[in-house]
Amino acid sequence: MGREEPQAVPAPSKWTPHRKPLAVAVGGLAVVTGVLVSTVLSSTGTGGTDGAGDTAPRGVAQGHPASADRPGEEPKPEKCENGDNPAASLRPSKDSEDAGDAVKRIKEKGKLTVGVDQNSYLWGYRDPTTGDIDGFDIELVRAIARDLVGGDGPDKITYKTIPTDQRIPAIQKGDVDMVVRTMTIACDRIDKVAFSTAYFEAGQQLLVPKEKDEKDKSDSPGAGASGDDEDRVKGFDESMRGKKICYASGSTAEKMMKSKNYKALGARPVVVPNQLDCLVRLQLGEADATVTDSALGAGQAAQDPSVELIGEPETVEPYGVAMNLKDEDLVRRVNKVLESFRKTKWRPAYDKWLGDDRMGTEDEEKPAPPKARYRD
């Protein structure tokens, strides 16, 4: 399972040079190809892009999303088959002295190698103007690096950009010491990689164009269908019928929207390779609403002030730091860092990156980190 934010980008459309082509035959073929390509690209309807080949990240096919079975219900955290909570991790190490092999290895190297994302706004992204990588995930990386190698400068951390589908292989092969990349702790992953305790909880949510002010609406009564209240997507309910709803191929959102009860809402799917592509479609009017996880939805809302997250999350998806299963000492060490991060750094980081009500929490609940759970 897992909330995914697929980094796979659209495969550049098929184009191979022919020598001395037969004009008619090639023309005909090319028309067919062109139609196919443009159908997929513009994604106007049809669920034909289900499992869109190699652009879909792996690791989403199995498992069950921790979603409410019915739209609008209170979501429950995922439970594994043996009844365990996947987010339960190893107890933190008592002090910095009891370093095991993994911690020693990193300390000797003097440098922490972390798998991150450069493309998730607010979480891990490269600011094109400064060239620096920053975000909520990156702040956590820095906190871990300060504890492990005594610094958070470029001489202490190597950021490796890895696509969504390479997160687990990169850890297993030892290319990176850990992955901090909006990675959901899920049952089908905990036997492949070791997770820290949860540092954030996200869930599938709706992103829609903001409603106009009351004043604007009264100025033009009944004028135009676009701004009309009747015509807006207001939640996972009847307002979705016939609307173009955008989500990323291979994502939890896709899985959720294709499940029986969500399918019955009658939305027309617009499937794109990457969640951020949905904002492009939304801006171009090719989609009416986007289903994505709240964390990434917040990133979209931050890039376009005229869209907002609405309603409550439909799922509970805890994020964790992923490490190699063998590096138990490192897991404990990271959990120790997280204990203090939750107390002192979490809230400032939240306010810096995710404040401004971008997460669309309707009740005035104060944002707080998820509680740490341990299994030993």
């Binding site: 998730s120 706004y121 951020l276 592509d277 904002l279």
Partner: protein
């Protein structure tokens, strides 16, 4: 030729009467022979003039029309691919997008738009070409709009810019480039068919010529048998004229054909091969840029890069450059292609290095390695681009001179054949008239 219709009954009875007269008396027979010979010779002249004019028109179409149109379509195709590549380069540079890159993008878009307007005015006879031009005219403003949205968002530091650029890239590869390719294919098919028309042998004219020659030979042999005179000057003159037209026709056409063939092989084919390779190189460069624009999610672009590169350099079998080299027939053409080959090798090495840097977490260094001014893949690509430009210019020149040489052989042939044939017919009539006078 028989003329049906008109006063059929009287013409018919008149004809029957004449044939009867011709069959029974020698003057009648001579008259008929003279008429047939004159008709055959005039027919020979007319068919020659008609068939040669046809071939000349096709040859002129090759030089003045279909080859320039094919070259223009190739430039549209190339300009669009180049625009897409430049857009991605500029995007990677972000805030300090070099002026030259921006200007190159703008020039590509301007060129495409202008060439499309020219093509729209010219392609009045090709439906398929018109359709592609319509697709391109519709898609171009949409594409530029997406690129500008990408730039605006990118300059604000928003990853959304990258998403817009990917969408623009999709539109370019999914809609515009295939349409440009089809336009190019349609125009090239027309060039091929014009070449075929211009080069086809005028068999009908040659056949009629041989027939006329045979008839003249028979008439002279008959004359010799009946009169024991070896020569009839009139018929001899007619024979000379017929032989002259036949030699001119066969010789002139053979030479024109070889000139056109040379222009096709040394020029047009080379240009097509170079163009295919050039566009593959442009797309490979675009893929290289997009891999970095996608920031860690560019595996699909890297795959596409490898595919385009394989089309340029070949993997297993000969690639586009090797093919172009085999078609280049002189040192100047070869050296330009070889220079491109050398630069592509450097490009590939640097690309591997840049990929290593990006995969190793040194994104900034990788970007510098790709769009930097020195020792970058961009520098290598520019060299490839320049070499291919040079090679194309050279082959275009070769095409033009060979095609004009070939075209020259057609000049005067039509009118000359007609005049000679009429003279020959007159001579034949005179020759027969001389024999006929002996019966008065």
């Amino acid at each position: 030729m028989p003329q049906p219709g008109g006063s059929r009954r009287t013409a018919w009875s008149e004809g029957v009467h004449r044939i009867r007269a011709a069959a029974t008396t020698e003057p009648g027979r001579l008259r008929s022979i003279g008429a047939v010979l004159a008709a055959l010779l005039v027919l020979f002249g007319a068919v020659t003039a008609w068939q040669v004019a046809d071939r000349k028109d096709s040859a002129v179409a090759v030089v003045d029309h279909s080859q320039p149109l094919s070259a223009d379509a190739a430039r549209v195709y190339r300009s669009l691919a180049d625009a897409n590549t430049s857009a991605a380069s500029g995007f990677l540079a972000g805030g300090d997008e070099p002026r030259a890159v921006r200007q190159r993008y703008e020039k590509d878009i301007r060129d495409s738009a202008e060439l499309l307007a020219t093509a729209a005015a010219n392609s009045d006879n090709s439906r398929s070409a018109q359709r592609q031009i319509a697709i391109l005219n519709r898609g171009l403003p949409v594409y530029t709009g997406l690129v500008e949205s990408a730039r605006a968002n990118n300059r604000q530091g928003l990853p959304l810019g990258g998403a817009y650029l990917r969408y623009a890239d999709d539109k370019m590869r999914g809609e515009l480039l295939p349409a440009a390719r089809k336009l190019y294919t349609a125009e090239t098919a027309r060039l091929d068919s014009d070449y075929g028309d211009a080069k086809s042998w005028p068999f009908l004219a040659i056949g009629v010529g041989v027939l006329a020659l045979g008839a003249l030979g028979w008439a002279q042999r008959r004359n010799y048998r009946r009169t024991n005179r070896v020569f009839n000057q009139g018929l001899l003159g007619a024979t000379a004229a017929t032989v002259a037209v036949l030699v001119w026709l066969v010789g002139g056409h053979a030479l024109a054909r070889s000139g056109l063939g040379e222009s096709e092989e040394t020029g047009a084919r080379s240009l097509q091969a170079l163009n295919e390779t050039w566009i593959s190189a442009l797309q490979a460069r675009g893929d290289e840029n997009m891999t970095l624009v996608a920031r860690g999610g560019g595996a699909a672009y890297e795959d596409s890069y490898k595919k385009q590169m394989a089309a340029v350099t070949g993997s297993g079998k000969a690639g586009g450059l090797a093919h172009a080299l085999s078609l280049a027939d002189d040192p100047a053409g070869r050296s330009a292609v070889q220079a491109a080959e050398k630069s592509v090798t450097t490009w590939k090495e640097r690309h591997a290095e840049a990929r290593g840097k990006d995969n190793g977490g040194n994104y900034d260094e990788a970007v510098d390695m790709v769009i930097g001014a020195e020792k970058s893949t961009g520098e290598s690509f520019d060299k490839v681009d320049d070499s291919l430009d040079k090679a194309s210019g050279h082959e275009q020149g070769q095409f033009e001179s060979a095609a004009n040489d070939g075209l020259g052989w057609f000049s005067g042939l039509s009118i000359g054949a007609m005049v000679l044939a009429v003279l020959g017919a007159a001579a034949a009539v005179l020759g027969i008239g001389r024999r006929l006078a002996e019966y008065r």
